[in-house]
């Protein structure tokens, strides 16, 4: 059996890592943490929404009324084409409406319905409880630090 233990000395790290130089790469650790969080998140979404990205879209439509699909796609960091199915789903759930904009008939401004706003609040609470439970082992300071660093990657990492 393969068992090798790399000595971690007085290294302020967790759980006997690193076992491999892989464990010293930000990208690898980012992916592993993302996969875990994402899987747990999905279980927390007992709602009618199919996945996290639908929730994210609803949040932004609610926070930015009359946002266009192009703007929303840019904010979410995805392509316009990928957004269509998401908006379709939210519209089918009656959580938002595509509305025409006077002056530019190409644009479809998105507006959350009352039902959508209610779902947003309920789901956000669900998600916040999910994070509270999943990240219970992190102090508030650690969470703030983590979020700050991840935001930095979002801000500076996009060329």
């Amino acid at each position: 059996m393969a068992e090798r233990r790399v000595e971690t000395d007085g290294d302020p790290q967790v759980g006997g890592w690193p076992q491999s130089e892989l464990d010293d790469l930000i990208g690898y650790n980012l992916k592993r943490a993302y996969v875990i969080t994402q899987a747990d998140f999905r279980k927390a979404l007992t709602n009618d929404m199919s996945g996290p990205r639908v929730f994210s879209a609803l949040m932004l439509v609610s926070d930015f009324p009359n946002i266009t699909q192009s703007e929303l796609a840019r904010m979410l960091g995805i392509e316009r084409s990928g957004l269509v199915a998401i908006v379709d789903e939210l519209e089918a759930l009656s959580y938002l409406q595509r509305t025409t904009v006077p002056g530019d008939r190409r644009v479809q401004a998105l507006v959350a319905t009352k039902k959508g706003e209610a779902a947003r609040q309920k789901t956000l609470k669900l998600v916040q409880e999910h994070e509270e439970r999943l990240f219970a082992f992190l102090t508030q300071d650690e969470r703030d630090t983590l979020i700050g660093l991840l935001r930095k990657i979002r801000k500076f990492g996009t060329d």
Copy 2:
């Protein structure tokens, strides 16, 4: 600790965030940072390997000679079934060999070839340079902190 502070009404965060309560969720920030890193990573992999996970598998096979596919899958956090294509690819590249184990003919122990070891070293260097470039805006302290927090999620987040 040496964090650059952009004051947005007392909030020690970066870049005018949060714009939405979405920006205060760890899961969302994790995903956004992951997508950015992953896309850049993929561009850095000018190698013959098809993607990041193939690289990760090669790293672990190299670090843990004679590891079984089940053990490797567990270390990577994926299912055994998903590993087959990865090992197939590495074997087709002559980067590793499936070897039989005396005593248990079900098991296929994985061993990296010399060619595989060379590819490992070359690609690891490529990836490290990629991270150095992509995360140039993070201090070494910040990177260590980030990796430590992400490892904690990997350790404690898997129930």
